[in-house]
Symmetry: D2
Subunit: 323 residues, 4 copies
């Protein structure tokens, strides 16, 4: 831990932003045509604490689509709605070493986990099956409550993916064929594409993260948004699977449960402490924001945020349990 | 967290032991002939705290071979010896969704991670290349320092695996062919087989875990055994890859960095708090001790040991950093 | 070659029929619901020669859907229509060791060959792209000309597969995503499902085979149906890929270019000599008719029909070419 | 078929040689160090007929190691020695779409076929198990009888592969682990490496091919070398698997049972007619000689040598069988 420890997060964010702003590696996502219109130079960093403080630097009010970051919260919602025991038969919990859009299933023919597209489509199917027409309104209301404001949907991105998402369409039909997708594939995909097109800013993501870190309660509004048990499961899956086939290296280097999206967002959750958001549209080969990953690496190192850092003493009262 | 929270760990261990002792699911490992001689009914549980307390129940002084639990500590040793930057070109950090003895490599033709056999054989090669003839004595001395006593080698198991380990022999030659194994495959395998044949008890494992939890320092002897940075890396890899292709489910259910071995041992490390050991020879289809897994699930739930449990507040001083 | 050689094919067919009629191994195809209505006891064998003779035994006038046998002729039609050079970028020519409905592509992201579902769907797309609304009428007219009668479509099977073919729907969308499917996936599948639902008898298949064997000219009607170069390509692909992941064993044991369908039909072509058809609905684990395979094995052995049998002297005038 | 049909094979070989001699695509094999010493410009073509004529052009007396071409004849020998029913449990007959040195097995954990390295190593094990110390002398004697002269072994290549063949060593140990390799892996590999290091010329290969084409009898010496049933099986496997993961395309374009080796040789057999050999050391990405493949394509087209060409009338007496 360097000298910055004594400085505020604000100062650290500014330094980290400056250190990585010149990095133009990576490419803006192109597989949804509308995403190519993103400004590749945008770069924003935001941290929200569970006691309601917010620190930011850069383009933290620029809207972008949440994309796969939504998978984590949708999975939490599904666990609350139907329980893991009703999800587990249709989607696993194992990291897979395959890209996010891989069409590869486990020995039980399920998607490997809810953080890859196939698994997230199953999550959507479960939500649609449970909530019916109220599925998307419910999900949007929860996401909004976590962010503390009413989140809009980017219609252009939604339409763009609806028209072009052939690979996800293939996945949905295959899940149907394998018996792991309740309901109509097209209706499920419509929910999935809408969910991915929800528009957020880096500040929104940081607040959503702080809500998760704060046992599911929005620290700013005080509203209880997610069940605490669902949060634990969500963080576990984010830690092992959230950064796709780069998740293990991320767990080693950064050690923060996180989820990235091809819109350029990365959300990290330091349990019981912080929500952290990075936003920058250029992606590396795993589909994660190049500058976002770099910023998280520095932040984790400087502030000892790694789940297994020696500064992380875990539950303070534990040793007192031993008589 | 149930009422047992107010009880001592000793009482909890006894209850958990009793709850799972009757479970005769699973099979004793047979791919090393000598392992089949294990008594399938053995079952021991041990917890060591970083302030030197030890709680146990059952067969905690029965010796068994450490097998793959050794991979975690050998990897820590290699990181200390040559640095991750010299290891990374030859072994990745990603979970692979494949069985422990899989012959599958990543896009750079490396083993996916150091917790599968292929990756652990690379670790052995790196140690042999660095320490030469002193490789095994050095490794054994470190393991012994972590356990707080001089650990023996089970010669019968070592000989048995040397004679029959055709699959590991295949892996070593393949790693050689791929340019990821410095040195002679046969010599590397000899080190690997010896390392796997180190004999421990559940108490030893718990103490080795407590040493890791205690920033690398043996809480009983006060001896500094492992570098604190290597420990963080070791725990990260254990969390994402330690339980083989069951690691994600374990991370979800138990949430404790852990490593299992086909000798029936499971070692868990609650960072800055506890080393936990389970020992019971019957294995599930992933190669993990059936009763051991069950005991860890209960322990984690009852005492809130999950890394992302709401009781885990992480680094206590963090929020004070924000001016 | 046994004594039956001196007998007529008629006699041989009767003997072979009798030898295998009692074999009730295998299961009627169930993945298209309508196919389960087939009578599992049906068994018919037919041979048509290129000089217009026809020999039959058993249920040779029972109609069944052509299913994947159509893939061979549709591929020939596509080669004629647009040339192999326009097909090759989108489908390979290599056997794949995968089941007929596998979702696995080659290093260029193409289906491995036109005999697996994915490749056959590409063939349909190419035909639809080339012939437009005339695609199915053209294909049906050609198939009918090869069989020497106007072939009907089984509407119930067509509807049944249209409603349930989720796996093929997934394949079509994936091909679209990979850039290997011109046109609209749903329209392509409609053509594909119709083509598979064309209804034939064993006699029809034998005549279609004789047309292929006779350099593309129907031996009974004298009508020229297929181009001779397309026939050579079609037979080559049938030989290496026609019996799915059992093709190599078939090439070894039987040595006749052949194509099977899950309706229970198998069509074999002995170049310049015979069309042979087997029909029996119970399928083995590769999706080939159990009794059909057995009948072909005996027929090939008894009459030296194997492409590399010592009795097969090939082109008679070849040696005269050497001055 | 072009005008050259009226010319002699000699003239055709000269024309084809001239057409492809300038093609410098591909690379000399480098995975056995000694092979890199080959002169990349060598190019020889030879045809031997079953009535004892020989036509050649170019470097047809330059020695090179037989390498994988040996797999076909060794497999024939094994079929004769122990029967297919004793081979089949340990090696399949299916093409695999994988490279020649792939470490991939079928659902029964066997090598896919005897033409990939893994399958050929099983063949060696079977020969060693059956013939003991006489295995290599027997094999060499047969190969020599097929070529009509005593073939030498290239000791430098044999030693070079013995020292460096780590990948094949891995395969052998893995086959042992899977229960598909009788005997000691090192002894089996010694036989395999020796067999691959047998030295031939293009003329030798053509004569070996003519022996196969001539029902196993050497047309020059009259010696009976291979059983006629083994020849049929050998040609079948060569047709479906002989050119590795390019076999299907070869079957489509060339249509001649063939086997290539990384020494630059390709052997083709036109059943009951010809042995054809090409030799040129530069290899394409599948491991087949670039110029050799090109020469075979032209030869097959010009002389109608494709197994399913319309000029190939097969067994002349067949139609007479129909009463």
């Amino acid at each position: 831990m360097s000298a910055t420890c004594q400085d505020s997060f604000t100062q650290a964010l500014a330094q980290i932003w400056a250190a990585h702003h010149g990095n133009n590696d990576g490419e803006v996502a192109s597989y949804i045509p509308e995403l190519t219109r993103a400004d590749p130079n945008h770069f924003g960093l935001a941290i929200a604490t569970i006691d309601g403080r917010l620190r930011t630097h850069g383009d933290v009010e620029v809207p972008f689509t949440i994309q796969s970051v939504s998978k984590a919260f949708a999975f939490a919602l599904a666990m609350e709605a139907v329980g893991l025991h009703n999800i587990a038969p249709h989607v696993g919990l194992e990291p897979s070493a395959d890209p996010f859009n891989a069409i590869v299933f486990d020995v039980e023919n399920r998607p490997f986990n809810p953080m890859v597209n196939a698994g997230a489509i199953v999550t959507s199917a479960i939500l649609l099956d449970h909530f019916g027409d109220e599925a998307f309104p419910t999900l949007l209301a929860r996401f909004s409550a976590a962010a503390g404001r009413s989140l809009p949907v980017n219609e252009a991105v939604y339409q763009s993916e609806s028209r072009t998402g052939e690979r996800n369409r293939a996945i949905a039909h295959l899940l149907k064929a394998n018996g792991h997708l309740p309901g109509d594939p097209d209706a499920v995909l419509d929910l999935y594409f809408r969910q991915c097109a929800i528009e957020v800013t880096a500040i929104d993501l940081a607040l959503m993260g702080a809500t998760a870190a704060n046992m599911g309660q929005n620290p700013a509004t005080g509203q209880s948004v997610f069940d605490v048990v669902a949060i634990r499961g969500m963080l576990s899956v984010m830690f092992t699977c959230g950064m796709y086939d780069h998740a293990g290296t991320w767990a080693f280097d950064v050690g923060i449960p996180a989820k990235s999206g091809v819109g350029g967002g990365i959300l990290g959750v330091v349990n019981r402490q912080l929500g952290i958001a990075g936003f920058s549209p250029r992606l590396d080969r795993w589909g994660n924001s190049v500058r976002g990953v770099a910023a998280f690496e520095t932040l984790s190192q400087e502030f000892g945020l790694h789940a297994f850092d020696c500064t992380n003493v875990g539950s303070a009262y534990l040793s007192s349990l031993i008589a």
